[in-house]
Symmetry: C2
Subunit: 225 residues, 2 copies
C-alpha cells in the first residue's frame, strides 16, 4: 500500500473510530465554527441553486439532508462510515453507505440537480473519485458545491502547496481519537479539479468568522457540463 | 472630496512622487519578488494566451511592454503618471498617458487581444474604471489578466474583508516617500469584479516565493465577453 493509500485508509479508520463522538458533537452544536458560520453558509448556497434534488456526499450523521428537507428539497446522503449512516437513518431521511471509490458505479437510478460536499473532501485520490462520480450523478446544467477549509486560514506555517498535513482534533472534546491526515490543496489546485472534470466555477463564498474576521471556509460553486 | 476619492488621489500623488525611484528600482532588479518570481510569472501567463496585441494598463516604466515585444507581441502601455510614461518612451515602445478614469473614452482605434494589469490595480473606484474600460478595449474572445497581491499573504492581521489598507514602502530603498493607501479585496470580491463585467475567470495562478513557499501573488485570467 502506497503512502497515499495508507493515508486514505487512515481517514476512513478515523471516521469509524469517531463516528459516535462526531454525531454527538454535531447534534449538540458542539463545533462552534459550524454552529456560528458554516452550517448556515452551506444551506444558503445550496438553497440558492434552487434544486429539487440534492446528493450530500460524505453526509456524516445527516444534518444537512434534514435541513434541506425542512426547506422542501428532496435530499439524499451517502457516506462511507456505516455507523454514521446508521445514526443518519435513525434521525430520518434517505441515506446509503457508499465509499467514494464506489460512487462512480453507484446505481443511484436518478440523477441529481445539485451535489454537495460539506467539509467531506479530505483525501487526495478519494477527492478525485468524487469529482469523477459527480459528472455522472449530477444533471447537465446542475451544480456541484464544495465547502472546505480556506487556504488563507488552513495553510498555517506550512508551505502553500498541495500535500498531506497532519490532522488534529484541536478544539474538539477528549472523546475524539486517531486524527487522520488531510490533503491540503491550493486555490489553483481546487480550480484545476473543477476544470479537469469539465465543471465551470461560477461563484466562491468566503464566510467570515464573526470574531476574527478571517474566512472560516471557502465554498466553491460549479456548473456541471 | 470623499475619503475614497482622497485615497485615489493619494495613490496618484504617490506615483508622481516616486516615479524616478520606481524606474531605478525596476530597472536595477531592486525588487526581489519581481526579479525572482512575479516578472517571469506574468510574462508566461500573457504569452500563454497567445495574443498578437496586448494593452498593459498601469504599465509604469514599461518593462513588460518591452519584454512582450522581445517575444514578438505588439504591446502598448498606458499609465497615468507622466514621468513614468516619459521613462517608458525613452526606453522604447509605444506608450500613452491615460488615467484609469479616462480609459473608458480613450480612442485606442484598435482593440486588443489581451489586456494586462500587473500590480497596477491599487484603488477601489479606479479599479472598477479599468474593468469597465477593458470590456470596450479588448476583443470578444480576448483575455484580461490581473496580477495582484495574494490574499493569503497580503491580508496580514487585518480582517479578511474589502477595505483600504495603509501603504508602505517596506523592503524598498530610502528613496521612496509618501506610501499610498491600497484597497484590499477578498478572492470573492475579485471574482465578483470579473463576473459583474461579464468576464469569466478561466484560470488562476499562485506563484510561490522560493524561500517561504507562500504565494507571492495571484494571477487571474479571464475571458472577455
Amino acid at each position: 500500500m502506497s503512502g497515499d493509500e495508507a493515508r486514505e485508509r487512515a481517514i476512513a479508520d478515523s471516521w469509524r473510530a469517531n463516528a459516535g463522538a462526531w454525531t454527538r458533537a454535531v447534534r449538540s452544536g458542539g463545533i462552534a465554527s459550524r454552529r456560528q458560520v458554516t452550517d448556515r453558509a452551506i444551506i444558503d448556497v445550496v438553497v440558492d441553486t434552487n434544486p429539487a434534488t440534492v446528493l450530500d456526499i460524505g453526509c456524516g450523521e445527516g444534518w444537512l439532508v434534514r435541513a434541506l428537507a425542512d426547506r422542501g428539497i428532496a435530499a439524499r446522503g451517502v457516506d462511507f462510515t456505516e455507523a454514521l449512516i446508521g445514526s443518519a437513518r435513525r434521525a430520518g431521511g434517505r441515506f446509503d453507505v457508499v465509499s467514494y471509490a464506489e460512487l462512480g458505479s453507484w446505481p443511484a437510478k436518478d440523477r441529481f440537480d445539485t451535489a454537495v460536499c460539506n467539509f467531506s473532501l479530505i483525501g487526495e485520490r478519494s477527492t478525485r473519485d468524487v469529482f469523477r462520480a459527480v459528472r455522472r450523478l449530477v444533471d447537465a446544467g446542475g451544480c456541484f458545491i464544495v465547502q472546505t477549509l480556506h487556504p488563507v486560514t488552513a495553510c498555517g506555517d506550512a508551505p502553500y502547496e498541495d500535500g498531506w498535513h497532519a490532522g488534529s482534533w484541536q478544539g474538539f472534546s477528549d472523546e475524539f481519537t486517531d486524527p487522520a491526515p488531510w490533503y491540503f490543496r491550493t486555490l489553483e489546485s481546487w480550480r484545476r479539479l473543477f476544470d479537469d472534470h469539465a465543471m465551470a466555477l461560477t461563484a466562491t463564498h468566503e464566510p467570515p468568522d464573526p470574531d476574527t474576521g478571517k474566512p472560516v471556509s471557502i465554498i466553491f460553486v460549479a456548473a456541471t457540463g
